[in-house]
C-alpha cells in the first residue's frame, strides 16, 4: 500500500489558480476523483505523477516527493500522445524503462489478454482505434506492477463491456493492495470506488465513501444538471436528467 498526501496544495498557471488548498490523504483502495470538465482533476493526477510541481504546499508519496517513488508508480494520461509508428510492444518496452529484469514481458502478455487485446501484439498503434490504443497503454502501465496506479479517464473511448472490464480490474487491483487514484466522468461507475473526491472549480467540495458523497443535491450543484435517484436491483442509482439549457438549445 502506498500513501498519497496532498498538503495544502495549490497550483497556478500564470495568474489562474487551477487547484487551491487541496488536502487529501489516501493510503489504499480505489480512489476516484470526479468533477466537471476543467475542475482540476487532471492537474491533481499530474501532481502525483511528478509531472508538475505544486505552486504551494506539497504532494507526498509514502512521505517523499513523487520524483523519489517513480519505480512503483504507473501513470496513464487522459490525452494520449503516443507515436503512431510505434507498435503495441514498443509501448510496453518503453514503459519498462526503469525495470530491472524482463518480468514485465510476461505480465504485459497477460494484461493484453485480460483486456481482450492479445491479437494486437506487434501491431503499430496507428492501426488501432482510440479505445484500443488506450487499452494497449493500460496493459503496458499495468505490466509495471505498480503499487500506485494513477489513471486519468480510464474509461474514456471504451465501449460498455470494456468499461466494465477496466473497472473490475481497478477494483481487483485495489483489493490486492494497490493504491489506485483515478479521475473519471462516469458517475454510475463511481459506486464501486472506496473513496470519492468531488472537485469543483479547483476546490475539493466533498470526499468520502460513495454512499456518503454521491448525493443528488450535491451532484446537481456541482455539475449544473439535475440528478434523480432511481431504485435499481442493487441499490440506489443516480441518473442525470436533461438540462434546461439543452432544451432551449433545440428551440
Amino acid at each position: 500500500m502506498v500513501r498519497v498526501q496532498f498538503r495544502d496544495v495549490s497550483y497556478r498557471v500564470r495568474e489562474r489558480w487551477i487547484v487551491r488548498d487541496i488536502n487529501i490523504d489516501v493510503a489504499e483502495g480505489l480512489n476516484v476523483i470526479i468533477g466537471p470538465n476543467g475542475a482540476g482533476k487532471t492537474t491533481l493526477l499530474r501532481l502525483v505523477a511528478g509531472i508538475i510541481l505544486p505552486t504551494k504546499g506539497e504532494v507526498l508519496i509514502d512521505g517523499a516527493p513523487p520524483s523519489r517513488a517513480r519505480r512503483h508508480v504507473a501513470y496513464m494520461p487522459a490525452q494520449l500522445s503516443l507515436d503512431p509508428l510505434a507498435t503495441v510492444d514498443d509501448v510496453a518496452e518503453a514503459m519498462s524503462y526503469d525495470s530491472l529484469d524482463g518480468s514485465w514481458k510476461q505480465s504485459f502478455r497477460r494484461w493484453l489478454e485480460v483486456l481482450g487485446m492479445g491479437w494486437a501484439s506487434g501491431r503499430p498503434l496507428m492501426s488501432l482505434s482510440s479505445g484500443e490504443q488506450r487499452l494497449a497503454l493500460m496493459a503496458a502501465a499495468l505490466s509495471r506492477s505498480p503499487r500506485l496506479l494513477i489513471v486519468d479517464e480510464p474509461l474514456a473511448f471504451l465501449d460498455v463491456r470494456n468499461q466494465m472490464t477496466v473497472m473490475e480490474i481497478l477494483r481487483e487491483l485495489a483489493d490486492e493492495g494497490v493504491t489506485v487514484l483515478a479521475a473519471m466522468h462516469e458517475v454510475l461507475m463511481v459506486r464501486r470506488a472506496d473513496k470519492v473526491f468531488i472537485l469543483s472549480a479547483g476546490r475539493l467540495v466533498a470526499s468520502g465513501q460513495p454512499s456518503e458523497v454521491l448525493d443528488e443535491g450535491l451532484l446537481s450543484v456541482v455539475y449544473g444538471v439535475r440528478f434523480r435517484s432511481y431504485q435499481g436491483p442493487d441499490g440506489e442509482v443516480l441518473l442525470p436528467e436533461s438540462t434546461l439549457q439543452l432544451k432551449s438549445f433545440s428551440d
Binding site: A49, R70, Y75, P77, S81, D83, L85, D90, D98, I150
Partner: protein
Amino acid sequence: MRARLWAPLLTVAFFASYLLSLSVGAAPGVGPLEALEFMFGLSSGISRDLEVYRLSRAVASTVLGSGLAASGMGLQYVLRNPLADPYLAGIASGALLGVTLELLRGPHGFLALYLAALGGGLLTLLAVISISSFAGFSSLSLLVAGITISYVLSGATMIVMIELGPKIPGALYWLFGSVAFVTWPIVLRSGVAVAASVIGLVLLARRIDTLLLGDEVATSLGVRVPLVRALTFVLASAATAAVVAMAGPVGFIGLVSPWAARRLTGSSFRKALPIAIVLGSELAIVSDVIARIIIAPSEAPLTAVTSIFGAPVLALILVRSRAETSW
C-alpha cells in the same frame, strides 16, 4: 525478433560491399581477384597502392554512412518525424556553411573544421525548430522551415565557394559531397568523432525510446525529456558535422537508412540504431562505387548518386506517411 533475422544478412552485405568497393574502379586490371589478394595481404606494387586508396574510400564511406544514419535516427525519434534528417532539418547546410567560412579564413586542421561545422549545424537546427514551432510544430512546418533555411544557407555557401574555389583545389567537392579526396588521418579523426556521437546515442537509447509514450508519460517515468531532446540534437549535429568536415554534405542516407531500419526491426530506437548504421554504411559504400564508375574516368559527386537513387525513396515515404497518418 526481426532484428535478429536481419542482422546476419546485413553483416554479409556489409562485407560484400567492401569487396565490391575494393574490386571496382576506374583503373583497369585491378578487379575482384586483386581485391581478394589485397584482403589476404598478398598484393604488392601499384595494385597494392590502389587497393589502399580504395580501402580509404570504403572506410570513409562507412564513417559517412554511419554518421548520417545515426544523426537521422536521433532526429527522427526525438522530433517524432519520419521525414527528419540532417538535410531536411538544415543541419547539413549549416555545417557546410560553417566549414566553408572556416576554410575562407585559411587552411585548417580537421578539429577546427569539425567545430565550425558543429556550430553551423546546431545554430541552423535551432533556427529551424524555432521557426517551425512558431508555425505550430508539425511534420509539414518542420519540412518547410528546414527547406527555407537550407536555401538561404546554400545561397550563402555558393557565394563563399566562388571566393574559395581558386584558393583550395577540390573545394567544390565539399559542396557536392565526395570521399574521393579524403586522406587516412582525416578519415580516422572523422571516424572517432562519429563514434563518439554514436556512443552518446547508445547511452541515451533507453531514454529516447520512452519518448514514444509522449512527454508526460516519459516524465512520469523519471526521464528528463527536454534534456534528452537537447542532448540528442547535439549528438545528431555532431555526427553530421564530423561527416561534413570530412567529405561535405551527402543527402538521403540520413533519411533513408533510419526509415528502412525502422521498417525492418519495428520501432525501438535501441534495436533500430545499429541496423540503420550498417544500412547507412552500405548505402554510402555502394553509392561511392557508383560515383566512381558512372562517368569514369571522371568522378561523380556522392550527393549526385544518393540524390538520384534516394529521391524516389523520399517520395515513397511521403506517400506512405500521408496514407498512414494525417498531418
